[in-house]
């Protein structure tokens, strides 16, 4: 059920990337696509009734080991979020520059103007 929702989010993003004509909408779709993958990774590490992977000195180590959620997916998602920010920034820069050239965010209009 939870995986299904995550997959739906992925498909929504994919649909937007493939079908939208507006550059801004494509960028939003890319962000959604990346978020869906991040969400999926975090889901893989989740443990029912677990605790966050941070020790504070009060939890006994063996309880921590038995209940901690998986730290690796969280580390991966942190990295992948930053990568996502980088990609988004590049895309926005190109889109702004395209807008300045053509005066529109419509990708078909841009292609038509280019001839």
């Amino acid at each position: 059920m939870h995986y299904a929702l995550c997959l739906t989010l992925f498909m929504v993003g994919l649909y937007g990337v493939l079908m939208k004509r507006n550059l801004i909408k494509i960028i939003i779709s890319l962000v959604i696509l990346e978020s869906a993958v991040n969400l999926f990774l975090i889901m893989l590490g989740y443990r029912a009734k677990g605790i966050a992977p941070i020790m504070d000195g009060t939890i006994p180590p063996d309880t921590f080991v038995r209940n901690s959620v998986d730290p690796i997916p969280q580390a991966l998602v942190l990295t992948s979020i930053v990568i996502g920010v980088g990609v988004t920034a590049m895309t926005v820069a190109i889109a702004l520059r395209l807008y300045e050239r053509y005066g529109t965010y419509d990708i078909q209009e841009i292609r038509r103007l280019r001839g």
């Binding site: 939870h2 929504v12 993003g13 939208k20 969280q74 990568i83 980088g86 920034a89 926005v92």
Partner: protein, 189 residues
């Protein structure tokens, strides 16, 4: 708890659909932020405070940039899809992929039972058992991203650097010159 998480995810998905489909600028901005905050709540529910804290701040920055990028255009409505037949074909293909993937996803570990707890000899198990004593960091996620997998983080910092460098390059004032011309200043202070 499980049901609550489901509701949050459902909300996020709906917000995502609205963000992509609505033609109104304000609607786009609101629903994009709704997606972001839905994700943040989901991350908190799934006990990933380290991860949840980052999208909060990233979300704010992305929104600022998005609003400014679209405001410059004024409130012109967003145009729709590419074409009708393409739409039908794509939608059908995506639905087929979705159904197939759902069948396949039955092989995943059950939600709430991470793989490192069921399979022996995983690095994660080692991290939660010995991470504190080996690295000295109480935050195991920090220990992973900055010690065990610090090389990844170097790559991540480089990705950000590359993207910023790329953005500077793309937005520069003048890109081409004659071979004899001297190097030009990229921007005025």
């Amino acid at each position: 708890m499980f049901e609550l998480l489901g509701v949050v995810l459902l909300f996020t998905t709906i917000a995502a659909i609205v963000a992509i489909e609505t033609r109104d600028l304000l609607g786009v901005v609101v629903s994009v932020s709704a997606v972001g905050f839905g994700l943040i709540i989901a991350f908190f529910f799934m006990l990933a405070p380290d991860v949840a804290i980052v999208p909060i701040v990233v979300e704010v920055l992305t929104l600022v940039i998005l609003i400014r990028a679209t405001l410059r255009v004024g409130l012109q409505p967003f145009v729709g899809n590419r074409d009708f037949f393409g739409f039908i074909a794509t939608a059908a293909a995506l639905v087929v992929v979705f159904i197939l993937s759902m069948k396949v996803f039955e092989g995943l570990p059950k939600f709430g039972q991470p793989v490192f707890a069921t399979i022996p000899d995983t690095p994660s198990m080692h991290y939660v058992t010995n991470g504190m004593s080996e690295t000295g960091a109480a935050n195991i996620v920090s220990a992973v991203i900055l010690d065990y997998r610090a090389y990844d983080t170097l790559g991540e910092a480089t990705v950000l650097f590359t993207a910023v460098m790329g953005a500077i390059t793309i937005i520069r004032r003048k890109a081409r010159k004659a071979p004899s011309e001297p190097e030009v200043q990229e921007w005025e202070e």
